[in-house]
């Protein structure tokens, strides 16, 4: 994938090497502060590393936004069992395309981040779980691993520090569900990818029952900068409790779609109008998916906000995985809802009843609606069925399907009324 033209409004921390010649090579990495953070972390205690990450106010970049330092502190370092690090590169939330760039253009930053986490939780083994559709990335990652091994940045006695760490890639088989951390662990273990019951949480019993630290690619990729420049410096880039920068994947009806690194708390309208070059063909904004397809949509009039976790939560949506989809006035929301639901019905793992049956039922209603068979009562039914799923499924996939649907039928009911079957209109 080609990296888009950067914007001068970006604050480039994790993406700072994007665009450099041979940015994925270890030489480029070493020439641009590479592995300095690891050597610094090697001189720190695990507590100090974790405190630094806590100070950075870094929150998980996979979607849930859980404070990273806190997560690292949950892993029992004194456990008699070895700790394992698992890297979630199952980037499958529609609208999201950032982890692939981090792996393709700066894999050694990811490796260094993992090593820092290894020091923090006293782990010596890691698995990068890459989604099946990203097969080409496995080659990129394996090449980087091979280079790191050959130059002593992985394996025994890394960079002469006496620290050992082995890192492997593992391919997913093409399932959105395996982005859910416990389903990912089952899949990693070679089982059917279905979510596990929690507790126990992976920090206590994760991969093969071992204490497991599991984070998103971007989360690990932020660790070197945090250790190198200090947690406070990273935190200062964003807003309180929303530290640093994040990669925002802007797609949809804008002039310059792409992945941009913006500080947390960046104004959404500024991102659309300035960073992404404004609305395509000068059309009017209709709605924004703020953080991947599972987030409740925002109407145009709700978009004059700052993009951080807490602001989005306040208005009933989420910052999610950074997949921002911009929709203009020409968007047919029935079609949009159908496209989303086709995805979730296809990706439901089938484990629990409401998600398995609910997503397909919703898909069928929306299909019928889109084909001209919409009935007036369908509009309420779509919302009601979604609410029957919401909060009642085994994992968050059901919520991910329900939340955008609820927001669409609530906020854009007119689009549905316009698309009713002729007989339903006259009835």
């Amino acid at each position: 994938m080609l990296y888009n033209e950067p914007s001068p409004l970006e604050t480039r921390v994790v993406s700072k090497r994007f665009g450099l010649p041979n940015s994925a090579s270890l030489d480029t990495y070493l020439a641009t502060d590479g592995f300095k953070a690891f050597l610094k972390a090697r001189e720190m205690t695990p507590e100090q590393i974790i405190d630094e990450v806590k100070a950075s106010a870094l929150r998980g970049r996979g979607g849930a936004g859980f404070p990273t330092g806190l997560k690292w502190s949950f892993v029992p370092r004194n456990s008699p069992k070895p700790r394992v690090i698992v890297i979630n590169a199952d980037e499958s939330e529609p609208g999201t395309c950032k982890d692939r760039l981090l792996i393709e253009y700066d894999p050694h930053q990811l490796i260094e981040g993992i090593l820092i986490a290894g020091l923090a939780v006293d782990a010596h083994r890691g698995y990068i779980y890459i989604r099946g559709e990203y097969r080409y990335l496995i080659e990129h990652m394996n090449a980087a691993l091979a280079e790191a091994y050959s130059r002593g940045y992985l394996g025994k006695n890394i960079a002469g520090t006496g620290f050992d760490f082995d890192l492997y890639t593992h391919s997913g088989a093409g399932a959105y569900e395996c982005g859910e951390e416990t389903a990912l662990l089952d899949s990693l273990e070679g089982k059917r990818g279905i979510p596990r019951m929690k507790p126990p949480f992976p920090a206590v019993a994760g991969a093969w029952g071992l204490p497991t630290l599991l984070n998103n690619v971007e989360t690990f990729s932020a660790a070197p900068a945090i250790i190198r420049d200090g947690g406070a410096a990273f935190a200062a880039l964003g807003t309180p409790k929303n530290g640093g920068t994040r990669l925002v994947c802007i797609s949809g009806h804008v002039n310059k779609p792409g992945v941009y690194e913006l500080p947390l708390g960046f104004p959404m309208m500024k991102a659309i109008n300035e960073v992404a070059g404004g609305m395509r063909d000068g059309r009017k904004l209709k709605a924004v998916v703020p953080g991947g397809s599972s987030c409740p949509l925002l109407r145009a009039d709700e978009c004059d906000i700052l993009m951080d976790y807490d602001t989005l939560a306040k208005i009933g949506s989420m910052l999610g995985s950074g997949g921002m989809v911009v929709l203009d006035e020409t968007t047919d929301m029935v079609k949009f809802a159908l496209r989303i639901m086709r995805f979730y019905a296809h990706e439901s793992c089938g484990w629990c009843i409401p998600c398995r049956e609910g997503t397909t039922w919703l898909r069928k209603i929306l299909t019928r609606f889109d084909e001209g068979g919409g009935r007036r009562e369908d509009i309420a039914l779509l919302g009601e069925l979604s609410r029957n799923m919401l909060g009642r499924t085994f994992c968050a996939l059901g919520d991910a399907a329900a939340m955008p649907t609820i927001s669409i039928v609530d906020k854009f009911a007119d689009d549905f009324v316009k698309r009713l079957a002729p007989e339903a209109v006259t009835a």
Binding site: M197, E347, S348, W351, I353, E357, T360, N388, G391, R392
Partner: protein
């Protein structure tokens, strides 16, 4: 008592043991929280979402089957929110369920029907096309109708956790996720049908039962399986004088809901076209049917004449017939005919066993104790093949209680998968194998030792001495075959006081009468006496019956009342399910012969004979209410002083799919591709581990 917590469920103060799941705590308080996937004894799934309840101070509905109770918790199971959630779940479930209840086997016994009736909506809002896939046949006994499946994963779990077979899994995902068999399009497994039984809906149906009847048209007769020695209770579904189904859904009996392929399906021998329906007399033109009156007269005359001239009578009894029949036969032999030549196919050395245990009435392990023991040692037996229920108990003990299982066998057995230690030995090397486990066994809290036919005589005494020397409580199971081997021994079908053993009778050239009841000794041995008058009582023209002068058609265990004693020494009651015209119960035949001979041996009604057994047979003074209510009452072993007996002791080596001649006449057992199988991991009949195997000796 363990630590408890106090909570409130639907306004009622409830106290439950710490760690209890909300669904169980509610059940204990008499409040139903509906569920499909939650199943006592199996792993938690939280998949069906039927058990969602409201717990105060939590933001969303909570899963009642995975959330443990906590102090001060306030739970609502019947709030409007909970009711609407259930209604919503059932509505989702029914979207792709075919609603073919009028023709579905499960109609009337379906948990989904019950749930919708109780908690569902009256009407459906689903107007789209349903997902449909065609029905599949996975084996002669297992059919799968995917659209009916609600994916509760009970079948997957019972097969994996309960049976240790793991033949079922889940394929595909989303709305087309479906249960799949282990060999792509068919099953290779125990064919136990546990998956069918545990299925809450009609997704898994039985090859023998499907589309035969509506469940409410059957009579349900709880009796005891006649195949192996474990004595599982099987509830036979009977309609119009035919057995249509076997299961044990009410979990009565020592086996709970467990049944193997034989208990669940192999009742079909009762209606095999080769069933003998009339006495058959050998004539110059072959066998000709004769009346019962003529047959009984002939027997009485022959027996009477031989008795009168002090001739040599030999009686070989059965290890299938009831205690009452065995008792009456022994009495008829000793008191009526004046002979001590009475024996049966002995499959375990009960003689030495009881002698070695002299004076210890508590040394016999019950079936329940195989589920509660801290450790189980299996010596010289392929438990999963030969004793499916005992194997199930042990597996469950390991799963639920963390028990340790040890094996000392001559080949691989299923118990190895769970074994704390498994020792492979050559035949005869069992005791050395057991000895090698001494240190580990010594550290167990208690132990049950189950041993097969290779442990007999001196070896058996040594094994019990070994158990005694461990310094922990040890109980024993002598693994005999067939449904009433214990009863045959206890009722005296043994050549004590100088009687001829089975082998000696067959070898005696001067034998005048050979009377064989429900046994097939001439399948594997020859009769030396050329002049003997041979009478055989059996269901079929077995190899032995083919050499008889007179064959009397006998009723099977499903056609009679009485009691049987299982491998663990537990007495249970048979209940007559059907009547086959022409055949008589062995007890009635004995009684009529006695009457014909003018002998007064008392009334031959099963209840009356059992009363006499309770009075006169050691260890059988069992509580009547337990037996009468269909329960199992443990007997005590004969209290020592059992003299050594002549004759051989050998297991028939039956597998999961064989049980002597009964299995040869079960169309179903012969139709499953796994049959007849072999012991110790051997696959085919030509590659058997031991014993004559398929078809057995009895």
């Amino acid at each position: 008592m363990a630590e408890t917590v106090k909570l409130t469920i639907d306004g009622r103060a409830v106290e439950a043991e710490k760690g209890t799941l909300i669904i169980e705590a509610a059940r204990q308080a008499g409040i139903e929280i509906p569920s499909f996937c939650y199943y006592e004894g199996l792993k938690l799934q939280a998949a069906c979402r039927m058990c969602l309840v409201e717990v105060e101070k939590t933001p969303k509905l909570q899963v009642g089957c995975t959330l443990p109770v906590a102090e001060g918790m306030v739970v609502h199971t019947d709030s409007e929110l909970v009711k609407s959630a259930r209604k919503g779940m059932l509505e989702f479930l029914l979207t792709n369920h075919p609603l073919d209840c009028p023709v579905c086997d499960k109609g009337g016994e379906c948990e989904l029907q019950d749930m919708v009736f109780r908690y569902g909506a009256g009407e459906s809002r689903f107007t789209e096309r349903k997902v449909h896939t065609d029905e599949q046949q996975w084996s002669p006994v297992v059919y799968f109708d995917a659209p009916r499946c609600i994916l509760c994963y009970r079948c997957v779990r019972i097969c994996d956790e309960g049976m240790g077979v793991n033949a079922l899994g889940v394929g595909n995902r989303g709305v087309i996720a479906a249960i799949v068999p282990n060999h792509h399009d068919h099953l290779e497994c125990d064919e136990c049908g546990m998956c069918i039984d545990i299925c809450p809906v009609g997704a898994l149906t039985s090859g023998t039962y499907r589309y035969q009847t509506r469940p409410w048209e059957m009579d349900h007769v709880g009796t005891i399986c006649t195949h192996c020695a474990d004595g599982c209770r099987t509830t036979l579904g009977v309609r119009n004088g035919r057995i249509i189904r076997g299961n044990n859904r009410d979990r009565s009996g020592i086996n709970g809901e467990f049944l193997c392929v034989k208990g669940r399906y192999a009742f079909d021998f009762t209606e095999h076209p080769d069933r003998l329906l009339s006495p058959m007399l050998r004539t110059e033109n072959g066998y000709e049917p004769v009346s019962w009156a003529k047959a009984l007269e002939l027997v009485a005359n022959k027996f009477g004449a031989v008795k009168a001239r002090n001739g040599k009578l030999g009686i070989i009894g059965s290890n299938h017939t009831t205690n009452e029949e065995n008792f009456f036969l022994a009495k008829l032999a000793r008191q009526g005919l004046g002979t001590r030549n009475i024996d049966h196919h002995r499959t375990g050395d009960l003689t030495t066993f009881f002698d070695a245990l002299s004076g210890r009435n508590d040394a016999l392990a019950t079936t329940a104790e195989l589920y509660s023991a801290k450790a189980v040692l299996v010596v010289g037996a392929d438990l999963s093949q030969q004793h499916p229920l005992l194997a199930f108990q042990v597996r469950s003990d390991v799963r639920h209680h963390g028990a340790h299982v040890y094996t000392v066998t001559r080949g691989p057995v299923r118990e190895d998968h769970q074994a704390a230690a498994g020792v492979r030995v050559e035949q005869g090397g069992e005791l050395a194998g057991v000895e090698s486990l001494r240190d580990r066994l010594k550290s167990e809290g208690n132990l049950v030792i189950a041993f097969g036919d290779s442990i007999q005589g001196e070896s058996l005494r040594k094994l019990i001495a070994f158990g005694d020397s461990l310094g922990i409580p040890v109980k024993y199971v002598c693994l005999v075959d067939y449904s009433n081997s214990r009863g045959a021994f206890d009722m005296g079908l043994i050549p004590r006081e100088g009687g001829l053993s089975r082998e000696q009778m067959l070898a005696a050239t001067d034998l005048d009468v050979l009377w064989v009841v429900g046994s097939n000794p001439l399948k594997t041995a020859a009769l030396s006496s050329t002049n003997a008058f041979v009478v055989v009582q059996d269901l079929f023209m077995t190899e032995t019956a083919r050499q008889a002068d007179l064959v009397l058609p006998a009723a099977s265990a499903y056609e009679k009342s009485g009691t049987v004693t299982n491998v663990c020494g537990e007495v249970q009651k048979l209940k007559q399910a059907i009547k086959v015209m022409g055949a008589k119960t062995d007890l009635e035949i004995f009684g009529l012969i006695a009457k014909e001979m003018g002998l007064d041996l008392g009334i031959w009604l099963p209840d009356k004979v059992f009363e006499e057994i309770r009075r006169t047979v050691h260890g059988y003074n069992v509580p009547m209410p337990v037996i009468a209510a269909g329960g199992a009452a443990a007997t005590a072993p004969l209290n020592g002083r059992v003299a050594a007996l002549p004759g051989a002791i050998e297991s028939a080596g039956d597998t999961l799919f064989t049980s002597g001649s009964l299995s040869r006449y079960s169309k179903l057992l012969n139709s499953v591709m796994e049959a007849p199988g072999g012991l110790y991991g051997n696959q085919g009949p030509g590659d058997r581990g031991q014993g004559p195997g398929a078809g057995g000796r009895s």
